[in-house]
């Protein structure tokens, strides 16, 4: 936790309290903070700032001199459409996409997504993983999340109106490389090149997308691109691909 995020209800005037067990434990045990220490805090959906610890009990921490004056960092102009991964990696992926500042996350079914993944209790804990990601990335605004259990109806009926500035599909067998794609956009745009990157990226889970899925997406105007001959773990791929947005922010 690089900051402690609290809901608006926990604030009153210049004081606030923390009663979430994980946060209390982190502050007293990991940070080993004491009365009088300054904490980096934020208000969910609000500003970031600091506060001073006024009192610590095993269940509750009281804060005073609360100052929330720093706006959260801007979100990336980006929707990630991710094939629902194994429950085990879902937590870290949600955390990382949130920490990186993705604005919209769509978890979608794919041919290689096992049906059992949609039954995972992890899907009921997305808010928790998002909170972890916000506290890691020092942000207060959660990404919008939607679940799409049916690939074809989503792609055919809903996708087109969600693409604001081009969409790409990460696909190892694409002819065009991500770097060629960016180069093309650079040639067709004027600096500052903030819009050379697409506003939507499709990333498959282990095993990637099948040809049928890729073709359906291409029919809706998406461009398939590869990121080189190397195949990465889903987690590594998501971070490596989204890292490109860091360059153009």
């Amino acid at each position: 936790m690089n900051c402690i995020l609290l809901p608006a209800a926990n604030f009153s005037n210049e004081s606030a309290h923390i009663n979430e067990a994980k946060q209390v434990e982190h502050i007293s045990q990991v940070l080993a903070a004491k009365v009088g220490d300054t904490l980096k805090i934020g208000q969910l959906k609000g500003n970031l700032g600091s506060a001073i610890i006024a009192d610590i009990t095993p269940e509750r921490i009281e804060l005073c001199e609360v100052k929330l004056t720093i706006a959260p960092p801007p979100k990336l102009n980006l929707t990630v459409v991710l094939a629902l991964p194994r429950p085990k990696v879902l937590r870290r992926l949600m955390m990382d996409m949130t920490a990186l500042g993705v604005r919209d996350i769509i978890l979608i079914n794919s041919y290689r997504t096992q049906k059992s993944y949609w039954q995972s209790p992890m899907l009921g804990r997305l808010d928790e993983f998002v909170l972890e990601g916000l506290q890691q990335g020092v942000d207060t605004v959660a990404p919008r999340i939607s679940l799409q259990k049916r690939f074809k109806p989503f792609v055919e009926d809903e996708l087109a109106q969600l693409i604001t500035n081009r969409a790409i599909i990460a696909h190892p067998y694409a002819e065009l490389s991500f770097s060629q794609y960016v180069q093309k956009q650079l040639e067709n745009s004027e600096p500052p090149h903030s819009s050379v990157l697409p506003s939507m990226v499709f990333i498959g889970a282990e095993g990637g997308w099948i040809d049928y899925e890729v073709e359906l997406l291409i029919k809706q105007g998406c461009q398939a691109v590869h990121i080189g001959p190397r195949i990465l773990r889903t987690e590594a791929a998501v971070n490596a691909i989204l890292g490109q947005w860091l360059l153009y922010q």
Copy 2:
């Protein structure tokens, strides 16, 4: 495992055998492969290719019609100097850096590296993690790895001759952003821009580098750059940063 890597000793003429327990288990259980199926294989330090399964026993798999005709993908012209992370994340980091094609990995001590990390049995298993990374990334050539338990002597006495084309330090409090850094290099170079990225990057573990470390590195000619206001998990940061090299390969 996106390919099965075998040492040269396991090959003879057009046949080969697999007797490594993990590999045998993966082929028979995860892939559920049968006699007659084709496997994607590679020879450590050699070529990639395919082979056909001639026989399967619980301990050993015989291969025939071995064809090793594909050169492994080129390595990134990159040395990652990584503050030794928690043992728990070391495995995945070694795998990911290997899968991404980093040529040299230097694990170094830092102020925020706990002393106990250097005693971890994980450090004795680096070859195993590298093999996992090669089999994930479909490569046959391991990165060179070195351990530097003393930060200052390494930086002062050895670093300069290891930097072939600039070095950067990932540091959240740097004034220059990674994107400004790349922009500057683009302005000073002609296409193709394969050398706009540095040949060495320093990445801290949790908590990052302390000022003293950053100053010592700057004195040796390294440039500190930040990747935006968001703070990422070490794993996410490594992949997001190294992802930049995918654009210029």
